[in-house]
Subunit: 115 residues, 2 copies
């Protein structure tokens, strides 16, 4: 049995949609190494604090952020495992050498699928 780590099972959808926003990717870059309080994250943006808070919420729900409460502050950091679905997706679509060769040949000699 696979151990259920935390938060949701994180459908690939949630993760991909979360990553599809530049602001959110920027947030992830900020907390990639260090653990940062929400306010400090928000300070990096022109957006309002609330807007950033909402982005954090999306990332958290996608399992991409870990929250730790420290007094009145909330500290966030990247949860790397959450990227696994993306990794799987990539490997699903990254063709092995054989497929690439076949593709190359087909491209050179286009032969349409029969009618």
């Amino acid at each position: 049995m696979a151990e259920r780590k935390q938060s949701t099972p994180a459908a690939p959808d949630a993760v991909l949609r979360a990553l599809a926003d530049p602001h959110r990717r920027q947030i992830l870059r900020l907390v990639k190494h260090s653990e940062l309080p929400a306010g400090q994250i928000a300070a990096s943006f022109t957006l309002t604090q609330q807007a950033v808070s909402q982005h954090i919420g999306v990332l958290k729900q996608a399992g991409l952020l870990t929250e730790r409460r420290e007094g009145t502050r909330r500290l966030y950091t990247l949860r790397h495992e959450a990227l696994d679905p993306v990794r799987e997706l990539l490997s699903e679509f990254w063709p092995d050498a054989l497929s690439r060769l076949k593709k190359a040949v087909e491209t050179a000699h286009p032969r349409p699928p029969k009618r």
Copy 2:
């Protein structure tokens, strides 16, 4: 100078947003190996032909699909290179062993960033 292949430079955004939809991922699975006409792709879905056509449009704009016209039909296939931005994103966020260790230690002994 890097050679400009085709279509747009494909911002990571377009690719990620295109991938964030299950229908579109399914389309990519279909054309991952074989080249398929739009109609045949559409036939795999409960959606209308037009809806699928729109999904194809999104994928094409993201650079994920190559189109080839063959008589009245249009044949599509996955353009693997378009996944490069995703690969880059992953490697950007995938921590090296040292970072992972640091993280593990921090998790074991939480020490907040100084006030």
